[in-house]
């Protein structure tokens, strides 16, 4: 870069950059205003669309988002699921942790009394293609439904004999164990906040219930 100031001063040289910045900034603001609603809906739909699958009878239009404090002291956003008639059907907890290759993000469905797991959905994973990534398949996820939420789940390689045993994916033991560990950790962290045994959560700050217009 030359050391002497350009002829005409910096403003004369830079006016184009300034004008363009303003024009582009305005364009971006317009794009943001038009599209941000749609993008936010897409992001929410990611979770809300699978709620009927995770909690049988749940209506995604009647789900409420809550911000609670877990046992580790950190805030967690979870979902209280109601049916179309307003009865409390269950909970959906987000869970995440280290898998074999990278982070795994899940949603765990829980019954209304917090005693039984009703479903599992994998939001994001980067496990080995063809082996570990079968954790997203229905076959693996179905193994979690109906399991008790009160005790930690254990992954076994043979057929499960106890209620809290889950059969591992063949060739992907570590991925299966990671999923179980993530579920166990999330349940342990949020058990108190949900108040297992009742449907009135303890220590809950309610965010404004979402007005659903789907």
């Amino acid at each position: 870069m030359s050391a002497a100031p350009p002829r005409g001063g910096y403003l004369k040289q830079a006016w184009l950059v300034i004008v363009l910045s303003l024009v582009y900034g305005g364009g971006l603001a317009a794009v943001q205003t038009t599209l941000s609603g749609r993008i936010a809906d897409n992001r929410r739909a990611e979770t809300y669309d699978v709620i009927p699958e995770l909690v049988p009878g749940g209506d995604k239009g009647k789900t409420e988002e809550l911000l609670v404090q877990g046992a580790d002291g950190k805030d967690v956003r979870l979902y209280q699921v109601f049916a179309a008639d307003g009865s409390h059907r269950g909970w959906v907890l987000p869970a995440g942790g280290q898998g074999f290759a990278d982070r795994i993000d899940l949603l765990v469905g829980l019954s209304a009394d917090g005693a039984t797991i009703t479903g599992l959905y994998v939001l994001a994973q980067k496990e080995t293609p063809g082996l570990g990534d079968y954790i997203t398949g229905e076959d693996f996820r179905r193994r979690f439904a109906g399991r008790p939420a009160g005790e930690p789940l254990v992954v076994v390689k043979s057929d499960p004999r106890a209620d809290n045993e889950i059969r591992a994916l063949s060739g992907a033991t570590i991925s299966s164990e990671s999923v179980a560990a993530i579920v166990n950790a999330a349940l342990a962290n949020l058990r108190e906040a949900i108040g297992a045994g009742g449907d009135s959560p303890q220590g809950v700050q309610e965010t404004a219930p979402r007005q659903q217009a789907h």
Partner: protein, 212 residues
Amino acid sequence: MPSDQPTALERFINGILPENPIYRQLLGMCPVLAVTNGMKPAMTMAAATAFVLICANVMVSLIRGLLKPHLRILVFTLTIATFVTIADRLLAAYVYDMSKQLGPYVPLIIVNCIIISRCEICASKQGAGVAIADAFGMSLGFALALASIATVREILGSGTWLGLPVLPAGWPGWGIMVLPPGAFLTLGLLLGMAEWASQRRAAVKRQGGGTR
């Protein structure tokens, strides 16, 4: 307009094979390796890059008379970054799943050397018509290159093409192809093939004196 500069048609045809951005110019390699594990993400990335390239070329060629020499890279970067943001937002709004899969590689279009080099070489020197033709040609070349690599990786790696199964169900699926090593190996071998083809054509030209 100086008459020694390539015309619009020449620019268009140039971009597809003779000056293909990936196989001949070796620019913009990062998205090539990252998004080619399937045809769908590859084509989405090609579309996004095409959008940015065309819009940036048009914009730069419209303001080419006002550019100051030592601030032009700044102007190019500003323009490209704006259009990339727009493309990213459009993807997130209308094809959210693809947007999530492509992840950080859409904003990385900003530093994709193809676009800056086209702005510098063509758009800042010629009119909007030529700039559009150039952008279209380069985008088509880029898409073809991405498609070639993605086809190899997806068929060998998952037995599908565009998500539809094309190989018998018994195909074990070479997992390595959809992982990073497969990307490097595929691109290296395809580059070798392209180089071999062009070296053979040059040798034939030299021998036959122009017979094809």
